[in-house]
C-alpha cells in the first residue's frame, strides 16, 4: 500500500474517493476495458468521455456494482468493494433514461432510498422537501412521473440519487434525451449543484463540448483504454495522443520526425519542415504535430523555420468566422479557422503555412501507456 503514495501520479490516500487499479472487463471474447487504473479525487467533477463502445458506461457500471470486473480492484473510500452488491455501495446513479419508478409519484420516487433505510417519516419529509427545493421542483410532490417533461424527470432522477447523500454520484449520459437548449441549461445547473453540494460527480458522455464545459478533469477513453486524464484546458491544448487530438475539437495532424533537437526543435514532415518546442524530445523520434485550425497561420512570404506550402481550396463562411481549407502537396487537407476577412488569398493561391511555435503540439508515439509500477504494488 505504502508504495503507491511514492508514485507521483497517485494523490494522497485521503484525497482519493474512488480508485480503479488494473481493472479488466471481458464480455466473453470482447475486451471492453483494458487494464484501467484511475484515481478519482474527492469533490471533483470527472467526466468519462469517448465514442460509443469505448467502455465508459461499463466503467461506470463497475463502480456502481452492476457489472463485475473480470480482474483488478475497485476501491471506494479506500475500501475494496468487490464483495459489495450495488445496494451496499455508497454511490448512487442517475440513469440515462431516468429509470423513475412508474408506480410512484415524485415524492415517493425521491423518498425511495430513505424508506429503504427505514428512516423516520418526518426526517424523510424534511430531506425530500429540501431536495425538491434544490432541484426546483417544489409543488410537484404528488405528480405522477409519466406526466412530467424530460427535463423534470431528469431533476427527479437527480434528486432521488442525491437525497441519499452519496459519496459519489454517477451520471450515465443523463442529458442525452434532452433537446439542445434544455441540455445547455441543465449542464450549468448540474455544475452548480456539484459545486454547492461538494459531492464527487463521475459523468459519462460522448459529447466533448459537454465534457469541456462541466468537468474538472476529463478521462478520454477509446477502445477500453484511458487515452488521457487531465483538465479540460490541458486536454484541449495539449492532447496526449493522436486520438485525443482528433476527438476533442478539430485539429490538423502532421506526421513528423525530429530532424534537429533543441529548445526549439525542427521537425520534418512529408511536405516540409516546421518548428516546435523540443523539450525532452530526441533526434530521430517519430511523432505527430497537432495544430488547431485557429492556431494555423499562413503568409505570402516564407516564414523562418517553416517550409510547408499549400494550395487554397475552399472558403467556408460560418457566421462571424471564416474557415479556409487548403490542400497539401500530399493531397491531404488542412483547416484554418478564425480568419479575419481583411486579407484573404484567392482560391488556388499558394500559401506558406506556419504556426506560433507554442501552438505546434507534439504528440509522441509511445508504447501502450500503462502505470506498470502499480501492478507490482498490489
Amino acid at each position: 500500500m505504502t508504495e503507491w503514495i511514492k508514485n507521483p501520479e497517485i494523490p494522497a490516500e485521503n484525497d482519493m474517493i474512488v480508485s480503479l487499479l488494473n481493472v479488466e472487463k471481458w464480455y466473453g471474447p470482447v475486451h471492453v476495458v483494458k487494464n484501467m487504473s484511475m484515481h478519482i479525487r474527492r469533490g471533483e467533477f470527472l467526466t468519462l468521455l469517448g465514442p460509443s463502445g469505448c467502455g465508459k458506461t461499463t466503467t461506470l457500471r463497475m463502480i456502481s456494482g452492476f457489472e463485475e470486473q473480470t480482474s483488478g480492484l475497485i476501491m471506494i473510500e479506500n475500501e475494496n468493494v468487490d464483495m459489495k452488491e450495488p445496494y451496499q455501495r455508497s454511490v448512487n446513479t442517475v440513469f440515462q433514461n431516468y429509470a423513475l419508478f412508474p408506480n410512484l409519484n415524485v415524492y415517493d420516487n425521491i423518498a425511495y432510498g430513505l424508506k429503504v433505510k427505514r428512516m423516520g417519516k418526518a426526517e424523510i419529509r424534511e430531506k425530500v422537501e429540501a431536495m425538491l427545493e434544490l432541484v426546483q421542483l417544489k409543488g410537484f410532490e404528488k405528480r405522477r412521473v409519466d406526466q412530467m417533461s424530460g427535463g423534470q424527470k431528469q431533476r427527479v432522477a437527480i434528486a432521488r440519487a442525491l437525497v441519499n447523500e452519496p459519496k459519489v454520484l454517477l451520471l450515465d449520459e443523463p442529458l442525452g434525451a434532452l433537446d439542445m437548449k434544455l441540455r445547455k441549461q441543465m449542464q450549468l445547473e448540474l455544475k452548480r449543484l456539484q459545486k454547492k453540494l461538494n459531492i464527487t460527480f463521475v459523468y459519462v458522455t460522448h459529447d466533448q463540448e459537454e465534457a469541456l464545459t462541466m468537468s474538472d478533469r476529463i478521462a478520454v477513453m477509446n477502445q477500453g483504454v484511458i487515452e488521457q486524464l487531465d483538465t479540460p484546458k490541458n486536454i484541449y491544448e495539449k492532447p496526449g495522443t493522436k486520438f485525443v487530438a482528433n476527438f476533442i475539437g478539430e485539429t490538423n495532424l502532421f506526421e513528423a520526425v525530429i530532424t534537429k533537437k533543441g529548445e526549439i526543435a525542427t521537425v520534418g514532415t512529408e511536405c516540409g519542415n516546421a518548428q516546435i518546442f523540443g523539450d525532452g524530445i530526441e533526434e530521430g523520434e517519430n511523432l505527430y504535430v497537432s495544430v488547431r485550425p485557429e492556431d494555423l497561420r499562413f503568409s505570402d512570404e516564407p516564414v523562418e523555420g517553416f517550409s510547408i506550402r499549400a494550395r487554397v481550396k475552399e472558403f467556408i463562411y460560418v457566421g462571424n468566422i471564416t474557415k479556409m481549407i487548403a490542400e497539401l502537396p500530399t493531397g491531404e487537407d488542412i483547416k484554418f479557422a478564425r480568419l479575419h476577412t481583411g486579407s484573404l488569398p484567392e482560391v488556388s493561391d499558394l500559401i506558406n503555412v506556419y504556426w506560433n511555435i507554442k501552438d505546434g503540439i507534439p504528440i509522441r508515439i509511445r508504447e501502450e501507456k500503462t502505470v506498470t509500477d502499480l501492478k507490482n504494488a498490489i
Partner: protein
C-alpha cells in the same frame, strides 16, 4: 506474481457472488421447471409409451410392444372420421379468420382505451359457462326453435327445416367458441404494425385496396397464422360441441379419443390417436415459426 493471486481472488469472489445470484434465480425458476417436466413432458411420454402397448381383453392394457393401435388409425372407418374432422375444422378456421380479421382491424383502429373495452366484450360470454351459452343454439336452431318459427311465420318454409344436428350447426357452435381466440392474435399483430407503412404505401401511389393486400395483410400474416392454429387445433378436440350440436350423427377425432378413454376403453388406441394429433400440430407450429411467427402471439 502478487497480481496473479489478487486476480484469482477477485475471480473467486465474483464466482461466489454469481453463485448467490444464481441460487436466488434458481429458487424462482424451480417450480415452473419441475411443474412443466412432471405435468407436461412426463404425461406426454406416458402417452407415447401407452400408444405402443397392446389392447387387452375387457378394456385392459397388456404391456407389450405393438403397432396395432397405429395400424387401426388407417382403418376406413376412422379415415372418414379424420376426413370429417378436417372438413369441419377447416371450415371453422376459414370462417373465423374471414369474419374475425375485419373485427380485429375494427378493434385495433379504435385506440388503446376503446380497444381494451372491445377486447373485454369479446370475452364476456366466456365468463360464465360457455357450454350453457352454446346450448342456446340448440334452443334457437331446433325444429320448433326461433329460427324455424320465423321461417314458418313468413312462409319461407312450409315445414321445419333441419338446422340442428347438421355440419352447419356444429360449425356455428365451433365458430362461436373460437372466434374470440382468432381475433386476439390478429388484433395484436395489427396493433403492432407500423402505421406509417400504410401511409407510405398510399404515398407511393397504391390505392386503399392495394395497400391492404400488399402491406397490411402481408405484415399481419403471423397473426393470421396464429389464429389458424388457435382455431384449428382446439376445434379438432372439442368433442362436446359435436355432441351437443351434432347430436351424435357426426363424430370427430376428439369424440373418438374421448370414447377410447371412456366407453370403448381402448387406451392404447386413444393414446395413438392423441400422439398423431399432437404430431400433426407440432408440424404446423414448426411451419408457423419458420414463416416468422412468434409463439408469444398464441398466448395473449
Amino acid at each position: 506474481m502478487v497480481k496473479k493471486i489478487s486476480n484469482s481472488a477477485v475471480a473467486e469472489k465474483n464466482k461466489r457472488k454469481r453463485k448467490r445470484k444464481m441460487l436466488s434465480n434458481g429458487i424462482l425458476c424451480a417450480p415452473i421447471v419441475i411443474w412443466s417436466f412432471l405435468l407436461i413432458v412426463l404425461p406426454l411420454l406416458c402417452l407415447l409409451f401407452m400408444s405402443f402397448m397392446t389392447k387387452g381383453p375387457m378394456g385392459t392394457v397388456r404391456y407389450q410392444f405393438s403397432l396395432e393401435s397405429y395400424a387401426t388409425i388407417f382403418e376406413p372407418m376412422y379415415f372418414t372420421v379424420v376426413e370429417k374432422s378436417v372438413f369441419i375444422a377447416l371450415w371453422t378456421t376459414i370462417l373465423c379468420v374471414l369474419f374475425g380479421y375485419p373485427m380485429a382491424y375494427f378493434i385495433a383502429r379504435k385506440g388503446p382505451k376503446m380497444s381494451g373495452v372491445f377486447m373485454m366484450m369479446l370475452m364476456i360470454p366466456f365468463w360464465t359457462n360457455v357450454l350453457v351459452v352454446v346450448y342456446s343454439f340448440v334452443i334457437m336452431l331446433n325444429n320448433s326453435g326461433v329460427i324455424n318459427s320465423i321461417l314458418l311465420f313468413f312462409g319461407l318454409a312450409d315445414k321445419p327445416v333441419q338446422l340442428l344436428y347438421t355440419d352447419g350447426s356444429i360449425m356455428i357452435g365451433m365458430v362461436y367458441m373460437l372466434l374470440p381466440f382468432a381475433i386476439m392474435p390478429m388484433y395484436s399483430s395489427i396493433e403492432k404494425m407500423d402505421k406509417n407503412l400504410v401511409e407510405a404505401s398510399k404515398d407511393l401511389g397504391a390505392g386503399p385496396i392495394e395497400t391492404f393486400f400488399r402491406v397490411t395483410l402481408s405484415l399481419t400474416k403471423p397473426g393470421i397464422f396464429a389464429a389458424v392454429i388457435l382455431v384449428f387445433v382446439p376445434c379438432i378436440g372439442f368433442y362436446m360441441i359435436t355432441d351437443m350440436l351434432g347430436g351424435g350423427t357426426s363424430i370427430m377425432i376428439g369424440n373418438v379419443i374421448y370414447n377410447q378413454f371412456t366407453s370403448a376403453r381402448n387406451w392404447p388406441f386413444g393414446s395413438a390417436l392423441s400422439i398423431v394429433l399432437a404430431a400433426v400440430i407440432l408440424i404446423m407450429l414448426l411451419v408457423y415459426t419458420k414463416i416468422g411467427g412468434d409463439l408469444d402471439d398464441l398466448g395473449v
